[in-house]
Each structure stands twice: as C-alpha cells, then as structure tokens.
C-alpha cells in the first residue's frame, strides 16, 4: 500500500495532479482511491488530495502517507506529521526551510520556465514519478498527455523538478494493468442513469451534486443527453416534470438545500405520478452547512421528502459499481411504477474517484406501460396494480396531469369517494414495488465475522477498507434500498452483536435500523465533522467496541 498526499492552495491544480498520479499508478498496475479535501474557495485557503494505492482494490484513503508534497508553509505544518516511517516529504523551499523532508524551490523553478506562473502541481506528478522510479522520458509522456496547455513548458518544469530531486526511488514494480477505468461516483451515477435511458438532466449547481451536471454537460455530444442549468432548483424540478410528461427520461440532482426547495414539486411528482429520478448528494447541514465535505444527515429527509402521503423509492449505493447500476435501476423503477425515486448518496462517493468496471448490459432499461387504446384514454385509469398506462403528446386523446387530486380523466376532484379511489390506486403500486425488489439486490454484505456492522452509502466504502485490518471479525450489512426497506434478507443475522457506523450526530440510521429490525446495538460510531474515517482508526474503534463487550 502506498499513499500520496498533495497539499497547497485552492487554484493550484491539486485535484488534477492527483488524478494524473492516480492514472500513473493505474498504469503501474495498482488500484487507487482518490479523495479531494477542499474548501469552498477558488483561490488561496488550503486544499489537499490523497491517493491511496494498492495491488488490490482500495475503498478509502489513509491519513498517514508515504509521499507528502507541500506547496506552501501551511501545508507543511498541517501534514508533515502524517508521514509514514521511511516516507518521503517534499516541500517548496521557496516557502522556507523545514526540519523534515527535501526542500525544492518549486516556485522559482516554475518562474524560470513559464512566462506566467503556471500551476505548480505539475511538480507533484514529477515528484511522484521520481518516487516510484518512473523514467524521465515516461514522465514527459505523461505530462504531455495530461497537461496539454503549455505542454513544452510543463515538460521542462517537470523534468527540472524530477532532476533536482535526485535518487529517491523506492522498489515499486510495474505490475500487469488491470481492466476498469477511474471514475468519480457522480460520473457513474450519471452514466448509469444514461445507460438506462436518461434524456434530460435539470439542475441548479450545488456541491457535491454539481459534478453530475458538469459531467453530463461536457459529454452532451457523445451521449446525446441534454442538460439545463435552470434558474433555481424549483425551476429545475418543475421543468423536469414537464419533460417527463412528454416521455423523456429525466433526472434532477442537488444537495440538501436544493432538495429542500424541490420538496413541493417532488410531492407533485407523487401526485401526478411522474417518473422522476432525483439524486440527493449530502453534505453536512443544516442550512448551507459545510459545502464541500461529507455527511449522512439527510436519510429521513429523503425518506420523507415532499408533503402528503405517497410512495417513493429511496436507495443508496454502497460502492462505485453500484452507483452505476443503481442509478439505472432506480430510473427503471421510476418508469415502471410512475413515481419519484431518490438516489441518496454523499460527497464521499459523489466526488471520490476509484476504479470501476462498468457493464452497460447489467443496467436495466427504463420502460413504461404504454397506452394501447388512444380513443378511450384516461391518464389515471383505475387499475388493479395501480399503474395507469402512459401516453405522450401530441395525441388525439386528451392527456391531463393534475397536481390536485383528480378523477381518472385527470380533471380535479374534491369528492370524498374519488379521493379515496385515487389514493388507493396509487397505493396499490406498493405491492408491485415490493415484489419487484425481490429481483434486485437489496442489501450488500461484506465480510464473514460474527459481529454485524450496519452502515449504508459511502460509509460502507470506509468500512470495507477498515475491514482489511479487522481479520474479518465483522460482517458489514448495508441496505441498498432504504424505502421500501427489505427486512427479510437480513433476518438470518438476528441475535448477533451489532455496531452501527454513520456520518451524523443524531444516529438517524440507527433509528431506522432499530425501528425496522427491532435490534439494539452494542455501540454506535458517529462522525459528523465532514471528514471520513481513517481506515486504521475505524478498525481500532470497532475492535475496542467488540472487545469491551466480549
């Protein structure tokens, strides 16, 4: 295992450099996991990216690093004590000279090469290359390929940094490359939904959901998908319902604040029976909260999204591959049952990057029940399974969707008997939803220990990395579907000692598990500082909890 940490100011291209390093390590046959820790700042402040790499899959990053690269003084002070024994720390000696590590005048070297100060983070790639023993000419190829603007200067700069470092290479053999590509969780969510049929994405930017919009917008020509950056979340979701009305497979996405604004229209999607995929990527709240960090504070918000009583499906991917397939599955469920669905995730999955192998044939297709008889068409035809056939305009038949309670024709009603009939119709879909969940994986299970650790979403990634240090004494149980909640699958795990891990201060997930499964925990581990656990620390905390109860 090998961890690289690059630290400096916002605007220095740290995230990009980490991506290039991850690519380089992938080329060396390693698996990588990249986490970007950044403030909501465009210039200045403090940012760092961590890439942990290993010969088998890595699910989260480590706090302590084998290679630390600091572009400024602050970075040195914040990170130098994280260096592993035998690790290498390289700092920018233009910022001062420090006790540990090797100082290289990264800024002066840069000024010699570029007309204008260009991004210093190219040097991080050079330093990493030197450390893993890559040749100077391979480094140049990588730089030229990855930093196309000012390519010549970039190569010169990288070479000078590389040369001034001297011989620092460790034994880092190049292994056969494995298949798979490096994706962020948001890219996988976007691609999964698109594979299932996504035609339109309506959104208003809010971290950590924004990169779905950015990614789809960037890929619109390749994918033939359309994206709208609307004037607000209110506009985005109401537009989305309009697009759905015409038959377009449509999604919206935001973080908690944007979802709060979308509540009314989410509820409308329930009423008009609009199949709509909603992607909720959480950050710490309440209110504006902590924009660029991770949290799991919106579980009940998702479960109860929208006023009034209506059914919805809520599910959360526990890993990158699942982000891809689940986004498609949820879009398909939305269209099958004509209701709003939520893909709940967190910054840690949305924005972190790791390898995944995606197979489009594993993704469901979002199909709907189409009307066969236009002449007698009623949008909200009362049916046994609650699903009324869909027809899209232009059509001979009148197609009325109504946010008021309505008759089967879609015309408003206030009549008691009709209200009950229509609510019952909608509710009858629940049986079908539960039946169709039987065909899907509703829980993820990792490890085979006698102690159960419950978690959901990206916390599962953290746990899987911690599991490597726990001698498999635990089984991680993670519900993928949170609503409807499948109790059956986990009944065989009753009467075991259980621990729960989640990223909030109130224990929402514990509350959910307790109320669904009637179990008590020997301990709960809550983290609500926006950060993820160091896998070793998490393993140790679980260990202590188990031993205390032994």
């Amino acid at each position: 295992m090998f961890t690289v940490l690059i630290a400096g100011k916002a605007g220095e291209g740290i995230k990009k450099a980490a991506q290039v390093i991850a690519d380089m390590l992938k080329f060396y046959g390693r698996f990588t996991f990249q986490l970007d820790d950044y403030e909501s700042t465009i210039r200045g402040g403090h940012n760092f990216s961590v890439v942990t790499t290993d010969t088998s899959e890595v699910y989260s990053v480590y706090n302590s690093a084998d290679l630390i690269i600091c572009f400024d003084k602050r970075s040195y002070h914040l990170h130098s004590d994280k260096l592993n024994p035998n690790g290498l720390l390289v700092y920018n000696s233009d910022e001062g000279s420090f006790e540990r590590g090797i100082g290289i005048p990264l800024t002066s070297l840069m000024k010699d090469v570029y007309n204008q100060p260009y991004n210093v983070s190219v040097s991080a790639v050079a330093i990493s290359a030197a450390r893993i023993g890559m040749t100077g000419s391979n480094l140049k190829d990588i730089i030229a390929h990855s930093y196309k603007r000012d390519a010549t200067q970039n190569c010169i700069y990288a070479s000078r940094v590389y040369d001034s470092l001297g011989e620092v290479a460790i034994d880092f053999p190049k292994l056969p490359c494995h298949s798979g590509h490096i994706f962020s969780g948001n890219q996988l969510i976007a691609l999964g939904a698109w594979t299932a049929g996504l035609d339109y994405y309506f959104s208003y930017p809010m971290t950590p959901a924004s990169s779905i919009l950015h990614y789809l917008a960037a890929k619109q020509n390749t994918l033939g998908v359309h994206t709208i950056h609307a004037e607000s979340e209110l506009a985005a979701i109401n537009m989305a319902i309009g697009a759905v009305y015409c038959g377009c497979r449509t999604a919206v996405g935001s973080s908690g604040g944007g979802f709060a604004l979308m509540q009314e229209a989410f509820s409308m999607a329930g009423m008009v029976e609009a199949p709509l995929l909603c992607i909720l990527s959480s950050r710490p709240g309440p209110a504006t909260g902590v924009s660029t960090y991770t949290a799991q504070e919106d579980l009940y918000f998702a479960l109860h999204q929208g006023h009034g009583d209506f059914s919805r499906i809520v599910a959360s991917p526990d890993c990158m591959e699942r982000a891809y397939t689940l986004a498609g599955e949820l879009l398909a469920m939305a269209w099958k049952f004509q209701l709003p669905v939520i893909l709940l995730t967190e910054k840690h999955l949305s924005e972190s990057m790791m390898q995944a192998i995606i197979d489009p044939t594993q993704v469901m297709e979002a199909n709907h029940l189409a009307a066969t008889d236009e002449a007698e068409y009623n949008r909200y035809e009362i049916t046994d399974n609650g699903i009324s056939p869909l027809l899209f305009p232009p059509s001979e038949a009148v197609i009325k969707w109504n946010s008021h309670e309505h008759l089967s024709s879609g015309v408003r009603t206030d009549e008691a008997i009709d209200i009950v009939a229509m609510k019952d119709k909608r509710n009858r879909k629940d049986t079908g939803i539960i039946a169709s969940l039987k065909e899907f994986q509703t829980w993820a299970v990792y490890g085979e220990g006698d102690v159960i650790v419950f978690a959901y979403g990206s916390t599962v990634l953290e746990l899987r990395e911690a599991l490597k240090h726990l001698d498999s004494r635990i089984t991680i149980l993670a519900p993928i579907y949170l609503e409807p909640f499948d109790i059956k699958t986990v009944e065989m795990f009753q009467n075991r000692r259980t621990i729960i891990v989640e990223h909030n201060s109130k224990g929402d997930f514990a509350f959910l598990i307790r109320s669904k499964l009637q179990i008590d925990f020997i301990g709960s581990i809550l983290r609500y500082d926006g950060r993820v656990f160091d896998p070793l620390e998490l393993a140790q905390r679980i260990e202590v909890m188990i031993n205390a109860q032994a």
């Binding site: 309009g242 377009c248 009325k400």
Partner: protein, 278 residues
C-alpha cells in the same frame, strides 16, 4: 376538432373576467387551427388560483401545475418536445409573485412558449389578499389598512427580461383578445399577454377599464414609446407593445433534435458506453 369543454362544473363567480378569457382562448384555438396549427400540438399548463381552473374546463392536454410553477413546467414540456405549442395560464399572484423567477427567465431565454397572465389585481381563489398587481391602497384581508406596495408594470418588466412578443388585452374585448392570443401562440419566441381581468368579488375593475382602456393602433415604434404607453395611468393601452424576432432557446440548445421523439436506443447506449470505456 373535438369538443373543447369538459363536464367539470364551472365555479367562477358569475361575471368573472375569466369567462371572457376562456371564450377568447377557444376562439383563438379555432383561429390557430385555421392557420394550420394542429390542435393536437396544443398543450397547456396552469398555475393555482381562479385562473388555473381553466385547466379543468378546457378539454385540452397539459399539466395543472403548482402555484407559481406553471411556466417552469411549460418550459420543460417545450424542451422535451419542441413540436408542441405550449401555452401557460398564470395568475398575477402566481406568475408575478410566487413564480416570478420563471416568468423572468422564460422571457430571458426567449423560450418559444406563451404566457397568458390573468391580471385581476388580487388573489381571487384565496379570497382577496393583495397581489403583486394590487394598486397602492388596495384593501384586502391581508392588507386591511391598505396595500403599501406599488404594483409592477408587467409590460416593461417583460421588456427588460427579454420577451419578444409583449401585449396587453382586456377580458371583455373578446375579438381583440382572441387576436392577441392567436398572435402570441404563432409568435416564435417568448410571448406574453397581460390580460386585464376584473374580479367581481375582490377587485371589480370593470368601470375603470371600460372608461380607460384604449386599443393602440399598431406596435409602438420603439422602447421609449412602448414604456410610456405601458405606464400611462390615464389611458390604459391595449395591443401589442413589442413583436420582435430573435433566435429562440430550444433551437439553439437542440438544433433540430426532438428529445421526446428521437430517443437514443438501448443498443446504441450500450455501444457508446462500451466504446467510451472498453
């Protein structure tokens, strides 16, 4: 064309200006059909308020949207299927209060849709509170001491936002209103019709409008003239204040693609993914 009425009981107050609007709209639909618009391509959305009830009375496809959101819904429809002619009914509380942002942005984008604004200067459905178009001094149940705020001038607001067809008419002038609505729907770009609509119960403006409304001859020659005519309080001018042709949003976004009709097939999607990530 199929029948235009549903069998929903009409609950507008007798004498309500909405009747005139509905009559003119039906006539406009006939006129549009004569001009070659396929009635099937007409889709409506409405906000919530007395104005919104028109959705239930008209046997026309569409979405009875949320309060203030009908224009956002309408834009989504147009973006998904640009071949549809999308017409939105909004109240002044609805489209200039709760959902003002969508009105401004639909105009800013020059979305090729139509907003028919039922301007009755009050919240009719919720029993007469002051609206964004209530005059100063208007006494409603939420402003018993008289409304402090000044009303908007929707025409100039739409000018500023970038609407390309801006008009005003009066619910009693059925022929004029029919013509303006027809023109608005035929217009390529964002068309806005402010309809002076007396509310018999909470803001009876029949006498005021009957005295002051004047039909303009032709479209004002420039913005300055248009603004002064729109703001004139002694004579209330109706007619077309602006009729301009500039590129429309969906054509720039989509080219000739019709997302709802030309969906990418499943196989094609799988192939694309496989070629992107072999």
């Amino acid at each position: 064309m199929h029948k235009l009425d549903t069998n929903k009981e009409n609950t507008w107050c007798p004498g309500c200006g909405n009747f005139g609007i509905m009559n003119a709209f039906k006539k406009a639909l006939a006129a549009l059909t004569n001009k070659g618009i396929d009635p099937k391509s007409i889709v409506i959305t409405s906000g919530i308020g007395c104005h919104g009830k028109i959705f239930d009375y008209l046997n026309v496809s569409g979405i009875y949207s949320l309060h203030g959101r009908a224009l956002a819904t309408a834009q989504g429809i147009k973006l998904a299927n640009p071949e549809l002619n999308v017409i939105c009914f909004g109240g002044d509380g609805d489209s200039l209060g709760e959902g003002l942002e969508h009105t401004m942005f639909a105009a800013k984008r020059n979305m090729d849709i139509t907003l028919l604004l039922h301007n009755n200067g009050t919240y009719g459905l919720t029993t007469g509170q002051a609206s964004p178009m209530s005059l100063q001094g208007y006494r409603g149940i939420s402003t018993p001491q008289g409304n402090i705020e000044r009303p908007f001038t929707p025409i100039t607001l739409m000018y500023e936002a970038g609407a390309t067809y801006i008009s005003r008419s009066y619910s009693t002038k059925i022929d004029h209103l029919t013509e303006v609505i027809t023109g608005a729907v035929l217009h390529k770009g964002f068309s806005f019709v402010e309809i002076l609509q007396p509310c018999i119960s909470y803001n009876n403006t029949y006498d005021l409008y009957n005295q002051k409304v004047r039909i303009m001859d032709g479209v004002p020659s420039n913005e300055t003239v248009a603004y002064s005519l729109a703001r004139n309080k002694d004579d209330i001018h109706i007619g077309i204040f602006k009729d301009e042709s500039i590129p429309i949003y969906h054509e720039q976004l989509l080219g000739s693609h019709i997302p709802a009709n030309e969906r990418i097939t499943r196989n094609h999607r799988c192939e694309i993914i496989k070629s992107m990530y072999p």
